[in-house]
């Protein structure tokens, strides 16, 4: 909301610079920024403000003037000579082409006063003809033969608005003598306040002035609510019927007869423009003005149209809409209503969407002479729902939907009808039609001094607390160690619950004192019991191991689409995307997706990370990345989905970065990925795991594996199926290795109490053996047999060569192992080593028909 400082100053004495005021308000919870009109920005030590590049009106050279006469230019039809009195001995002659001066051209000295703004030679103004903001200094020069060194200004040239169709002309007395520096006439600072939902009471000039009054401890001057009433009693002219007291606790109305619709006076128009409203006519302008002044929205009906509809004395009925009912609102829209919508009606049907927007049929027109002014109170949540349902936000509904106290209704109607009378003439009917269907509760909160200390940590005396609350217009009764505060009738945010009500008051006290003034302490409490978060620790350890293995962590969006996930399954293949997806699990579907590629929460980490890898491969050949994060399974019978954690790993491109000294490294393959998986399991001290060939439909059937821990699948990894790679738009010439793992299953297998072996002190014996087996024998199985049959004396067996070729039989391969024999307590003899080797060869022979080679 925008509020001119000049308006605030009518309601409260502000004896600090605007910058200090904005700073105090911001710290008290009302975020305030400043816009300057003509006056300089002040630099206050300790307060940083964004530098403003507005035009500061030169006090000596930009002044209030009065046009005495408009003479024709002897040599130019499109120019005139404005003779301007600006308080100097001699009037100034300005050559100007302002179109709005032409009606005065050549009619001799003006009889009615016509005020304007004059800028004298040397003054800085905005260039009115420039499309982009550009400053210029007025210099004397001849204009079509007549020397000119000054000008009458448009609003644009002064930086008030973009208006440059004509110069500023005023018929109403601006209240200052000619020659007054313009800064002292229209110079102003406009406060833009950001209001959080708890500050409903501040949606008006009075509301903000009230806060300032409390902050600066200056009295508040409320606008008068006196009304000159001379007409017959209003009860003879209108009746009011409220059907639903919850939705419409109060309805007030007053009647103005015989008024004239005309433009508002200039001061009111200027003020409306400053707060961002467009002046329309005196009646509509007053409803806006009073709403901004008091916070109470008003609605003006053309009374005669009501009478016409009713065929006599109208009855205003407020009620819920009936199913299928419609109303045409002021914006020309025909609104289809539901029973949740509250309406203002008469006996002939709906007139307005209550608290949100008036109806077209009974609105004020140029011919209106009798005005019925409505000032009602509506339930804030109902108004908010109607706004959302019909997607309309009006100044009135914004206020009602945040909560307006019903006491404001009478203040608004009185203030409004009197201003209308003053501006348009006419007679106000006697009395206020005032129906209170549901009175507002009177809330009194008892606040204990000890409670202030308990919550803020600051000792605030009960008298100081009382003083602050009085400044905020609470009605306070002081006791020894407590006070009773009756909530003023503009607030709807103080609870009648004793504990909550106290907290509400303490918040007020703390923010008026200023949070910077509270002590700064550390908790003086025994430390609550500490506990370790094992899953988190293991997750972080997993990250560390993967980083040590050379992988870059990725974090992708957790949104996806079923279609994007379906790309993981090659066309024609069975299976569903994701790992360990519970049977029947569905997606968590977003009801209001922000983008078409974010309609569900993911089942798999792979689609998003593969997309990231694809983008990266456009500029970087080596990719080795992982992501740890949740997937989401909507499971029947549960309100909330399962959110298990997954780990994804992707490798693509050369396994080593390029270097001038060597040939480009080959692309990462299955064994690079397997090495990382093994490294991870080793790093986590997981030993009980096994692999089986083929890792699911997304992977190459011959170059993938599934990993099993404790009998359940904990992940699958391998080369991405070429059809899947193609579906994700990955380059065909770079094999992509992917893995997805069930993090819980992996973490549950971590043994934090893993054992260690002593470092051996005896010499090892090294020996290589090569065994020839059929091609179908898995190397891992042979390795297991070697390790098992080697017993305690075989310290390790490492496969170092796989050979097929002329020296082994067709359909066979030679697997060569490097063996290390070692006893913990002695040096092994040749005979002991030979015996172990014999056992190994025999076991391999028995298990796989293996033959010792060479």
């Amino acid at each position: 909301m925008q509020i001119p400082l000049s308006w605030l100053k009518e309601l409260v004495d502000i004896d600090v610079p605007a910058e200090v005021l904005a700073d105090r308000m911001t710290k008290a919870g009302i975020e305030t920024t400043l816009t300057y009109i003509g006056v300089p920005q002040q630099h206050i030590p300790g307060i940083q403000m964004p530098p403003s590049d507005h035009l500061v009106w030169d006090r000596e050279r930009i002044k209030l003037g009065r046009i005495l006469e408009v003479k024709p230019h002897p040599d130019a039809d499109r120019l005139v000579l404005a003779i301007v009195d600006y308080g100097a001995d001699e009037p100034e002659q300005c050559v100007t082409g302002a179109p709005n001066l032409f009606e005065y051209k050549g009619i001799g000295p003006l009889e009615a006063p016509l005020w304007t703004v004059i800028a004298l030679e040397g003054a800085e103004v905005w260039d009115g003809h420039s499309d982009t903001p550009k400053r210029m200094i007025l210099k004397g020069r001849p204009l079509r033969g007549i020397y000119n060194k000054s000008m009458v200004c448009s609003e644009k040239e002064l930086g008030i608005s973009d208006e440059h169709e004509g110069v500023i002309l005023m018929h109403d007395d601006p209240g200052k003598p000619v020659g007054t520096p313009l800064q002292d006439v229209f110079g102003d600072v406009v406060l833009t306040v950001e209001l959080t939902p708890n500050l409903a009471r501040c949606y008006s000039v009075t509301g903000v002035a009230r806060e300032i009054s409390a902050l600066l401890d200056k009295p508040l001057r409320m606008p008068s609510t006196h009304v000159m009433m001379a007409g017959p009693d209003i009860s003879q002219s209108v009746k009011i019927l409220i059907e639903d007291a919850d939705l419409n606790p109060r309805f007030t109305a007053m009647l103005l007869m015989g008024t004239t619709i005309q433009p508002s006076p200039e001061w009111l128009q200027r003020r409306l423009k400053l707060i961002g409203q467009r002046p329309i006519n005196n009646i509509v302008d007053v409803t806006n003005y009073v709403m901004f002044e008091s916070g109470q929205p008003l609605h003006a009906f053309d009374y005669d149209k009501l009478v016409e509809r009713a065929g006599g004395i109208p009855t205003i009925i407020t009620r819920r809409a009936r199913p299928g009912e419609t109303v045409e609102t002021l914006d020309g829209q025909l609104r289809k209503l539901t029973t949740d919508n509250e309406l203002v009606c008469d006996t002939a049907g709906p007139l307005a969407l209550a608290g949100v927007m008036g109806g077209a049929e009974t609105e004020i027109s140029d011919g209106t002479t009798n005005v019925l002014l409505e000032s009602a109170n509506w339930h804030f949540i109902n108004v908010r729902r109607t706004m959302q349902q019909h997607k309309i936000a009006t100044e009135a509904s914004i206020r009602f939907s945040r909560g307006v106290h019903q006491a404001q209704a009478e203040i608004g109607v009185r203030r409004g009808i009197e201003l209308m009378r003053q501006l348009g003439g006419g007679t106000v009917s006697s009395g206020v039609m005032d129906v209170v269907a549901k009175p507002a509760p009177r809330i009194a909160v008892t606040l204990y001094e000890s409670e202030i200390k308990r919550l803020t940590g600051m000792a605030v005396g009960i008298k100081q607390a009382a003083n602050i609350l009085v400044r905020l217009q609470f009605d306070v009764t002081l006791r020894a160690d407590s006070l009773v505060a009756v909530v003023p009738d503009h607030r709807t945010d103080i609870s009648d619950d004793p504990v909550i009500g106290q907290a509400d008051l303490i918040e007020e006290i703390a923010r008026i004192i200023g949070l910077d003034n509270l002590p700064t302490t550390l908790m003086d409490e025994t430390l609550p019991e500490q506990w370790s978060n094992v899953p988190l620790e293991r997750e972080e350890h997993t990250r560390d191991v993967l980083v040590a293995l050379g992988l870059q962590e990725n974090i992708t969006h957790r949104f996806s689409t079923p279609e994007a996930e379906a790309l993981l399954i090659p066309r024609g293949a069975a299976g569903r995307p994701g790992l360990n997806v519970p049977a029947g699990a569905d997606y968590v579907r977003i009801a209001n997706p922000i983008q078409p590629d974010k309609t569900v929460l993911r089942h798999s980490l792979l689609p998003n990370i593969l997309n990231a890898v694809r983008s990266n491969l456009r500029h970087t050949s080596h990719q080795a990345v992982f992501e740890i994060g949740s997937v989401y399974f909507r499971v029947a019978g549960q309100q909330l989905p399962d959110e298990p954690s997954r780990l994804a790993i992707v490798l693509a491109g050369p396994r080593q970065p390029d270097h001038f000294s060597r040939q480009a490294a080959p692309s990462a393959d299955f064994f690079d990925l397997k090495g990382i998986v093994e490294g991870l399991l080793r790093g986590l001290h997981i030993s009980a795991w096994s692999l089986k060939a083929q890792g699911g439909p997304s992977l190459h059937p011959g170059r993938s594996a599934a990993i099993t821990i404790d009998g359940s699948v904990a992940g699958h990894f391998g080369e991405l199926h070429p059809l899947v790679a193609r579906a994700f738009g990955l380059p065909a010439d770079v094999p992509v290795m992917v893995g997805e793992f069930d993090l819980e299953r992996i973490q549950n297998a971590v043994n934090p109490l893993y054992g260690t072996a002593p470092v051996p002190t005896t010499p090892p014996v090294y020996e290589d053996i090569a065994l020839v087996v059929r091609d179908s024998v898995p190397a891992g199985d042979l390795h297991a047999v070697i390790e098992q049959s080697g017993g305690d004396l075989l310290r390790s067996a490492r496969l170092f060569d796989v050979y097929t070729g002329s020296s082994v039989p067709q359909g066979h391969k030679s697997l060569a192992f490097s063996l290390v024999y070692q006893a913990e307590d002695r040096t092994l003899s040749d005979a002991e080593v030979a015996a172990v080797r014999k056992k190994i060869v025999k076991a391999a022979q028995k298990a796989f028909d293996a033959q010792l080679r060479g």
Binding site: K27, S401, L515, L518, P519, P528, Q552, E553, I590, I594
Partner: protein
């Protein structure tokens, strides 16, 4: 034979003095004193000598072998010296050529920031509690004092799911009630936890806003916890996170689940409070929203607000990383461009 031996001996000695590199030295060794060398060859021919000649020849052959071994050892030391000198004086590397880069792994910047957060809060006695992403409307809003349809709900644009009352959490505060109920022993035990996690807002994805972001919520509930403690605790965090002399400012604010509420700013560390584009010329950077836990929320967590009090605060690691490292586009965080990530 003996003459032959002497001549071999002469020749070997003569050759040895010319040798200046280890390859030639090794060749010399195998030619003369190796198992198949000239001296051994001659020794093998000893059978062709007369019994009288044999001991004489054998003795002399062994003397020659020993002498050559000794000469070899001496020459070896010399050759090594010569070679080392040549190596040290030889062609130097162009040290400005690029090094071989090992494939290096890194943590995502958000993880790095989250870890730093958890570390600092752990030092102050806060354990980590992780809550869920998909939440009930009740946990995310109603129990946190956002009644249904309350205007405060306008502050957070929400992702709804097709299941009624199931939403994506808009803030980690959604885990507050769960933490209090799970750890508070039915309102009998004090707690101190931080809740890190991914949050979601229905916001257009631009350089300034994302549909998902990390948040870290912290809560402390006890018998004797005050707003002054909140100030001191967050100031301590700021000193550890930013700099030992970080200046902190407190502004009143509004969150439905805290009362009184405050925003916490630190003096802009980029301009030292002088005003710059990052702090929008205010000299201050917003780092946390906070406040005393609202009595309604304490009650919903199982605590009697007349007896217990507590504070809560929330902060965003992405925002803090952006401020610290001059990141101007928040979309970088989930785009995973390696050219962005490798800078952390």
């Amino acid at each position: 034979m003996l003459e032959k031996l002497e001549s071999v001996y002469q020749q070997a000695q003569a050759e040895l003095t010319e040798i200046r590199d280890s390859a030639a030295l090794a060749a010399w060794k195998s030619r003369y004193i190796g198992g198949k060398g000239a001296v051994s060859q001659l020794l093998r021919g000893i059978g062709g000598l007369t019994p009288e000649e044999r001991p004489v020849f054998g003795k002399r052959a062994n003397e020659v072998m020993a002498a050559l071994d000794e000469a070899y050892a001496a020459r070896e030391v010399l050759v090594q010296d010569i070679e080392m000198a040549a190596d040290l004086e030889g062609a130097a590397l162009d040290v400005t050529l690029p090094g071989r880069q090992p494939a290096m792994g890194r943590l995502h910047p958000s993880t790095q920031t989250l870890r730093r957060f958890s570390e600092i809060w752990a030092e102050m006695g806060f354990s980590v509690y992780r809550s869920r992403d998909v939440e009930t409307d009740e946990m995310n809003f109603t129990l946190l004092n956002f009644p249904p349809h309350h205007p405060a709900r306008d502050m957070q644009d929400t992702f709804y799911t097709t299941d009624p009352d199931v939403i994506l959490r808009t803030h980690t505060s959604a885990g507050q009630i769960r933490a209090m109920r799970e750890l508070g022993g039915g309102g009998t035990k004090p707690i101190r936890v931080v809740l890190p996690g991914m949050c979601y807002r229905f916001e257009q994805i631009t350089n300034r806003s994302e549909a998902q972001f990390y948040q870290v919520e912290g809560i402390a509930v006890g018998h004797n916890i005050t707003m002054s403690d909140l100030k001191g605790t967050v100031a301590e965090f700021a000193r550890k996170m930013y700099s030992p002399d970080a200046k902190v400012r407190y502004r009143a604010s509004y969150f439905p689940f805290t009362e009184p509420s405050m925003e916490i700013d630190i003096e802009c560390f980029l301009c030292g409070g002088e005003g710059c584009s990052v702090c929008k010329h205010t000299g201050w950077l917003e780092i946390a929203g906070s406040g005393m836990i609202h009595p309604v929320v304490l009650r919903n967590g199982g605590y009697d607000p007349a007896e217990w009090s507590g504070f809560a605060f929330g902060m965003g690691p992405e925002r803090i990383a952006m401020l610290k490292h001059g990141i101007t586009d928040i979309r970088n965080f989930w785009a995973n461009d390696s050219r962005f990530l490798e800078q952390f």
